[in-house]
Symmetry: C2
Subunit: 295 residues, 2 copies
């Protein structure tokens, strides 16, 4: 698959996802203040990577990804809430995200906290509105997503990140932090798509491994981009990790070492798809093009 | 039922709830920082009113309330997260709650935001671990709770509260704000208990009305206590609503007017239970003793 075909696939899915998100978080709902603030960040140019991963996983096991838009949208709401809260002055204190003012710079800290809370809560209401799926499977999937997003997952990773700023942490702690902060939700997305589409346990296992390697490659690439990227492309000031004395894969392994680690993770992710056919083309393309984002 | 019997009933339920909460948010989990912060507020002396209401509603329709501890605990986690976030400097900026330092005064603003996020997320993971309930009913119940806690409910009420501080709002807006901020979760608790225990639609309807009146009486009483209570009993400085220029039932209706409104809500709540037998004794006692909290 060419990068162009992948881009077309993503554009078509983004259209579906954006329409569904706008139905679940409507622009004319009461009270308007909180909905405005939630929608500001929800429609601030996100790449919709997590919902696309869910849909691509469903496709990869012979299902129809677009049948699972409510669960897919829930993942995007969780991702978006985490960005709003991360950007707050009490956390990373970022004024810009994707080239736009962050939520709290527009709506104030209090409303930004509530917008995050509203999106996190809406994520679960939306996921539980998923039709045409066996309820027991839906319960399992949404519970997995909650576990991945919570204190043992994404929130826990963020807490370790917060506590370790300006401090030295070892490679093992860094790995945990990133698996929890970024990897856990990717893994839940892939597994959700597979489980919702009725995948076999073997297929779920392969996609779980794919997700772990994908998440790792994603995080290492993020650290690399903070050093060699341009503000235009990554939408935030380059070098902010260095400025904030953050431990990253680059600071621990050097730029070349980090690039090698990223390449190995990509290769391992591709290897896990060896028994899948052309239905997994999107998953292959997603991880192949991931690490050349900076090119 | 005497106030003493109600107190004994509540103590026995609180013991069950606290044990279950400690299993779901364990003290020895990794990473420790975030779990410490979550547990600090979760075990800061809450009255466990929402989980008790859920259990009492299940009892009232002939079920066994203690069978539904996971969903009951989820309600308490949602309530606790909302208090942590409300107390933040960007919101109500309170240093004390129930006579103890608020979460952010102990752990810092960033960790307090994450502790709230962790509890909200854990609420859904915990509720979806509820065993021995038909999955379709569980999905319905947890979705109702998400809707009650979200932007059209509790978070929305909080957003209106935040936006209206220092401003004049009318009685209609005040009513919406409190129904959303406090009433919605009470209603979800009562309905959840009834639905989980297999209540008829008629019973669910009666308990829904009970919950609405209970929530109203609760909020009016809260406003009254802010004027006539003592810091010892309510655990925060008396008069903080006046200090913060908040519109309350007392500021809108005078102290006597507010007391009359509270009594009417209590009477209406009791009326809705007229077709229930002794199984509803706890629900009757809860609303009867509620408005004499300050006595």
């Amino acid at each position: 698959m060419t990068e162009n075909s992948l881009s077309q696939y993503c554009q078509s899915k983004i259209k579906l996802i954006d329409e569904a998100l706008s139905e679940h978080i409507p622009g004319n709902a009461y009270p308007p203040g909180i909905y405005d603030s939630m929608r500001y960040s929800l429609f601030a140019g996100g790449k919709r990577l997590r919902p696309i991963m869910l849909m691509a996983a469903a496709d990869a096991v012979g299902g129809q990804g677009s049948n699972y838009l409510p669960v897919a949208c829930g993942l995007e709401m969780i991702h978006t809430y985490s960005l709003i809260h991360d950007d707050l002055p009490a956390m990373d204190n970022d004024d810009y995200r994707r080239g736009k003012l962050t939520n709290h710079k527009v709506y104030g800290d209090g409303m930004a906290i509530l917008a995050g809370d509203g999106l996190l809560t809406a994520a679960f209401g939306t996921m539980l509105s998923q039709p045409n799926v066996d309820s027991a499977i839906l319960v399992r999937v949404v519970k997995e997503i909650a576990d991945a997003a919570g204190a043992a997952g994404m929130v826990g990773g963020q807490a370790v990140d917060l506590a370790s700023e300006g401090q030295t942490i070892d490679a093992k702690t860094l790995k945990f932090m990133h698996q929890a902060k970024t990897g856990a939700l990717f893994k839940a997305a892939l597994r959700a798509g597979a489980l919702l589409a009725g995948a076999s346990e073997k297929e779920v296992g392969a996609l779980t491994y794919y997700a772990e390697q994908f998440g790792l490659a994603f995080q290492i690439t993020d650290d690399i981009l903070d050093v060699v990227g341009s503000q235009d492309k990554i939408g935030k000031p380059v070098g902010s990790d260095i400025k904030n004395h953050k431990v990253t894969y680059v600071s621990l392994h050097s730029l070349d070492g980090a690039k090698q680690l990223a390449q190995k993770a990509v290769d391992d992710a591709l290897g896990s798809l060896s028994e899948f056919g052309t239905e997994a083309a999107i998953l292959r393309a997603l991880v192949e093009y991931l690490i050349i984002r900076e090119a």
